[in-house]
C-alpha cells in the first residue's frame, strides 16, 4: 500500500491553494526533506517537503492547478516497505467530541466563581469575644503580614527596588532586612521587567516570592510577566505548573505626581483570567488579605494605595489574622442606597454615607476588597434591600470595575433596580499636575453624595 500525499495546509488559515510547480516527477526516488512541490497559499509560495522515503508513484494534480483544497490527494508514493514505513495519513478531521455540552464543573473552575453563590465563599473569621484592637497604619499592617508569613514559611522572600537597605521607598518593608537578612530581602536594580520575570521563574521553581513594585506605574514594564508568564501558566500547562507569587505595591493617584505616576490598574489586572486581584482599604484588611495572598497557590496582584499607607485603623490582635480572598465586606449597613467601592474610594463612600445620614438617606457601604474574583453575590444581596446602587472608583470610567458592577447588576439584578446604576469615577483624562485641575479630576465625597441623592430621587 503506497502513501498518499495530500495538499498541505501551510498556514493557520489556509483552506486551498495553487499547486504551482512539481519539483519531482513520477518514478523519482525521494527521501525525507526533499522538496516535492511549490505551493502558493493566499500569503506566499511555500516549498512542500517529503516526510517519508520512497518512490513517487502517480501525480494526481498537475502543476498550475488552482484552488486545490487542503487534504486533496495530490500524489501517491510507494513507501520504503515493511512495517517501519509511516502509516498512511488519515484523512478524517480531528475526532469530534460527541460529549453533550454538559455544564462546566464549577468546583474546579476559578472563573465560575465570578458568578458564584454567596455560600460558596468563606466569611471573615469570627473574632473571639474581648479581642483587643490595636491602632495600626496600613504601612505597618502590610509589613507585619510579610514578616509573619516569612517567619511561617522559609520559601517566602521579598524582592524589589529599595526594599532592603533603604527600608522601602515607602517604608513598607521597614525592618525586614534586619530580621530576615539579605537572602530573603533582596534589593534589585531598576529593572522591573527582569525582576518580575525572575520572581515569576522562582515561583515556578517552588518559591513564594513577594515582588514589590515601587509603584504599579512601573509594573507596566513588567506586565508581560504578570499576565503572560504568571497568570496563564497553570492553564497552559494543564494544571501542572503553579505560580504562587504576589506582585504588590502602591496603585492609583498619589499626590501631585502627574499623569505617568497616577493611575489605577485595578480594572486592567481584574480583566485577566488566572490572576487574583486584591485592593484593600483599611489596615486590618491589608494585613489579613496580604497574608492570604502570600499563602495562595495562585498569582496575586495586590494593589495598595500610597495615600492610605499612613492612615491608622484598628487591627485585631490575634495570632494569625488571615482573611478570605474573594469576599466583599459590608463596611456600614444601610437600607436606602448601596455604595460599592474599593481601596481609597471606600473612605470617600463612608464619608458620603455620614453626610447622607444627616439628610435622612441610609447608605450601605460595600468594600469589594477583591477585584478578581468579584464578590457579586454580596453586591446583589445588598441591592435587593436598597434597590439603588452607586459605584465609587478612584480610576477612569471606561472599562472600569464600576462598568463591570453596572453590567452585573443589570444582568442579574435588573428587577431589583429602582433607578439606573450611577458611576462616580475620576474624569476621563490623564491626571493633571496643577492642584486645581488634579482636584477637579479626582473623585470626592461630595460627588458620591450627589450621585446617591440622584438615585434616591432626592
Amino acid at each position: 500500500m503506497g502513501i498518499v500525499i495530500k495538499m498541505p495546509a501551510l498556514s493557520p488559515t489556509m483552506e486551498e491553494g495553487t499547486l504551482a510547480k512539481w519539483l519531482v516527477k513520477e518514478g523519482d526516488e525521494v527521501k525525507s526533506g526533499d522538496i516535492l512541490a511549490e505551493i502558493e497559499t493566499d500569503k506566499a509560495t511555500m516549498e512542500f517537503e517529503a516526510v517519508d522515503e520512497g518512490k513517487i508513484g502517480k501525480i494526481m494534480i498537475a502543476e498550475g492547478t488552482e484552488g486545490v483544497k487542503v487534504g486533496t490527494v495530490i500524489a501517491e508514493m510507494a513507501g520504503e516497505g515493511g512495517e517501519a514505513a509511516a502509516p498512511a495519513p488519515k484523512a478524517e478531521a480531528p475526532a469530534k467530541t460527541e460529549a453533550a455540552p454538559e455544564a462546566p464543573r464549577k468546583a474546579e473552575s476559578g472563573t465560575s466563581k465570578l458568578a458564584s453563590e454567596a455560600k460558596a465563599v468563606m466569611a471573615d473569621p469570627d473574632l473571639p469575644a474581648g479581642t483587643e484592637f490595636v491602632k495600626t497604619t496600613v504601612r505597618e499592617a502590610l509589613r507585619d503580614a510579610m514578616a509573619e508569613e516569612m517567619r511561617r514559611d522559609a520559601r517566602v522572600f521579598v524582592m524589589g527596588e529599595e526594599v532592603a537597605e533603604y527600608q522601602g521607598a515607602y517604608k513598607v518593608t521597614q525592618g525586614l532586612l534586619d530580621e530576615f537578612g539579605d537572602k530573603r530581602v533582596i534589593d534589585t536594580p531598576i529593572t522591573e521587567y527582569g525582576f518580575a520575570g525572575i520572581g515569576t521563574g522562582a515561583a515556578m521553581g517552588g518559591l513564594r516570592p513577594v515582588i514589590e513594585f515601587m509603584t504599579f506605574n512601573f509594573a507596566m514594564q513588567a506586565i508581560d510577566h504578570i499576565i503572560n508568564s504568571a497568570a496563564k501558566t497553570n492553564y497552559m500547562s494543564g494544571g501542572q505548573m503553579r505560580c504562587p507569587i504576589v506582585f504588590r505595591g502602591p496603585n492609583g493617584a498619589a499626590s501631585r505626581v502627574g499623569a505617568q505616576h497616577s493611575q489605577n490598574y485595578g480594572p486592567w489586572y481584574a480583566s485577566v483570567p488566572g490572576l487574583i486581584v486584591i485592593a484593600p482599604y483599611d489596615a486590618a484588611d491589608a494585613k489579613g488579605l496580604l497574608k492570604a495572598a502570600i499563602r495562595s497557590t495562585d498569582p496575586v496582584v495586590f494593589l495598595e494605595n500610597e495615600l492610605l499607607y499612613g492612615r491608622s485603623f484598628d487591627v485585631p490582635r490575634v495570632d494569625d489574622y488571615v482573611l478570605p480572598i474573594g469576599k466583599a465586606r459590608i463596611m456600614r449597613p444601610g437600607k436606602d442606597v448601596t455604595l460599592v467601592s474599593y481601596s481609597i474610594g471606600v473612605g470617600l463612600a463612608l464619608d458620603a454615607a455620614e453626610t447622607l445620614a444627616g439628610e435622612g438617606i441610609d447608605a450601605e457601604v460595600i468594600d469589594l476588597r477583591t477585584l478578581r474574583p468579584l464578590d457579586t453575590a454580596t453586591v446583589l444581596e445588598s441591592l435587593k434591600k436598597t434597590n439603588r446602587l452607586v459605584v465609587v472608583e478612584e480610576g477612569w470610567p471606561t472599562c472600569s470595575i464600576a462598568s463591570e458592577i453596572a453590567a452585573v447588576v443589570m444582568e442579574q439584578g435588573f428587577d431589583d433596580l429602582d433607578a439606573p446604576v450611577l458611576r462616580v469615577t475620576n474624569e476621563d483624562v490623564p491626571l493633571p499636575y496643577a492642584a486645581n485641575l488634579e482636584k477637579a479630576a479626582l473623585i470626592d465625597a461630595a460627588r458620591v453624595v450627589a450621585a446617591a441623592r440622584k438615585v434616591c430621587y432626592k
Partner: protein, 358 residues
C-alpha cells in the same frame, strides 16, 4: 573593527572561539572546551535521540499539512545537536531547563514521552498540557522542564528565576535557559544577565543562534553579531560553539557546568546552528537561498556527523538502520496516538484557571 557584510553561517569548524578580544584578562575565565569523548554507547544514544527529534518534527510538519496541528508550529530540524548535547550533560531531576516556543526537540531530548507531546500538538486531551497549551506551551515539572514560552525572551528572565530558586534552596542544581539569536536582542535578557551575575546565579544561558530571527539574519539585527560576547559587559564569560556537532556541544556544556558549579555565576554559550525549515510552518523562508540550506544539509548535518562518528567507532550500517527503523515506529505510533486520542472534554475549558477556590 569592520563588520562583516554577509551573514556568518555556522561553520562546521567554528568550534569554541577564544575569549572575546578586549575582555578583562585579569578575570578568571572558563577554559576553552574540548570535544567530548563519547563512548560507543553514548554515541548511539545521541544518534537515537537526534533521529527521534528529526523524524518527530518531520511528522509534526506532515500532520500540520494535514490540518491536524493548528496555529504556530516551530520545528527543530537542523538544531538537534544542541538540545541533545546539552541535555546529556545535565542531571535529571536536579537541573532545570526552560526554552522558548521551539520546544518539542528539547522535550524529546529530556526523555518526555513522544506520544503526549504529539497529542498536545494535535490538541487532544491526552496531550501533556491536556490540549490547552499547544506547540509553544508545554511543560513537565516532573522532568524539571519549565516550558515552552511563547513570548520571545521571557524564558531568560524566568530561567534566571529558576536559577535563583536553585541558589535559594541550595540544591546544587543548575538552570539552562535556551533562547534564540532573535531573543538575544530583547531588553529583559540584559536585565536578567545583570542580576544573574550580580547574584552569581547558577545558570547557563544558551543562545541557539540558528542565523535567522524569523526572516531577519543575525547581522541585520545585531550590532554585535558575535553573540557569545553579549555577556561581557556584565562580566558573564561566553563561549562560541559549533552547535552542529554534538560532541562539541557536550564538551562546552561540561566546561560551562564546571564554571557555574564552581560558584562563578552564569556563563553564556553561543551555539552556532541552523534550522532547515522555516521559522514556523507558515514561513516560506524566502530570505535565504535554497542552495544555502542545501549546503548546510550536505556539509554540516548534525545527524550525519554522529553517523560518521558511529561508523568510525565500528558500528555497522545495519545497526544504524535498525535504530532508524525503530525510531520510525515510535514516531508513527506517536502520530497514531495523537490522531486517535479524543479532544479534551468540554468542561476542561474551565479547569486549571486557578488552583484554589475563592
Amino acid at each position: 573593527m569592520a563588520k562583516p557584510t554577509t551573514p556568518r553561517a555556522a561553520s562546521a569548524k567554528a568550534k569554541a572561539a577564544a575569549p572575546a578580544a578586549g575582555a578583562d584578562h585579569n578575570r578568571p575565565r572558563p577554559q576553552t572546551p574540548a570535544d567530548y569523548k563519547a563512548s560507543k554507547e553514548e554515541l548511539l544514544e545521541f544518534y537515537r535521540q537526534m533521529v527521534l527529534i528529526r523524524r518527530f518534527e518531520e511528522k509534526a510538519g506532515q500532520l500540520y499539512g494535514l490540518g491536524l496541528i493548528g496555529g504556530f508550529c516551530h520545528l527543530y530540524i537542523g538544531q538537534e545537536a544542541v538540545a541533545v548535547g546539552i541535555q546529556s550533560a545535565l542531571k535529571p531531576g536536579k537541573d532545570s531547563v526552560i526554552t522558548g516556543y521551539r520546544d518539542h526537540g528539547h522535550m524529546l531530548a529530556y526523555g518526555i514521552d513522544p506520544n503526549v507531546i504529539m497529542a498536545e500538538l494535535t490538541g487532544r486531551g491526552a496531550g501533556i498540557s491536556r490540549g490547552k497549551g499547544g506547540s509553544m506551551h508545554m511543560f513537565s515539572v516532573e522532568h524539571k522542564f519549565y516550558g515552552g514560552h511563547g513570548i520571545v525572551g521571557a524564558q531568560v528572565s524566568l530561567g534566571a528565576g529558576l536559577g535563583f530558586a536553585h541558589k535559594y534552596n541550595n540544591d546544587g542544581g543548575v538552570c539552562v535557559a535556551y533562547f534564540g539569536d532573535g531573543a538575544a536582542n530583547q531588553g529583559q535578557v540584559y536585565e536578567s544577565f545583570n542580576m544573574a551575575e550580580l547574584w552569581k546565579l547558577p545558570i547557563i544561558f544558551v543562545i541557539e543562534n540558528n542565523q535567522y530571527a524569523m526572516g531577519t539574519s543575525v547581522n541585520r539585527a545585531s550590532s554585535e553579531d558575535q553573540l557569545y560576547r553579549r555577556g561581557e559587559s556584565f562580566r558573564i564569560p561566553g563561549l562560541q560553539v559549533d552547535g552542529m556537532d554534538v560532541l562539541a556541544v557536550r564538551g562546552a556544556t561540561e566546561e560551562a557546568l564546571k564554571w557555574v558549579q564552581g560558584g562563578n555565576g552564569p556563563i553564556l554559550l553561543e551555539m552556532k546552528t541552523y534550522r532547515y525549515r522555516g521559522h514556523s510552518m507558515s514561513d516560506p523562508a524566502k530570505y535565504r537561498s535554497r542552495e544555502e540550506v542545501q549546503a548546510m544539509r550536505d556539509k554540516s548535518d548534525p545527524i550525519e556527523g554522529v553517523k560518521k562518528y558511529l561508523i568510525e567507532a565500528g558500528v555497522s550500517e545495519d545497526d544504524i538502520k535498525a535504530i532508524d527503523q525503530n525510531i520510525r515506529k515510535i514516531v508513527a505510533e506517536a502520530a497514531d496516538f495523537a490522531e486517535s486520542s479524543p479532544e479534551p472534554e468540554l468542561h476542561e475549558l474551565y479547569t486549571d484557571v486557578l488552583v484554589e477556590q475563592y
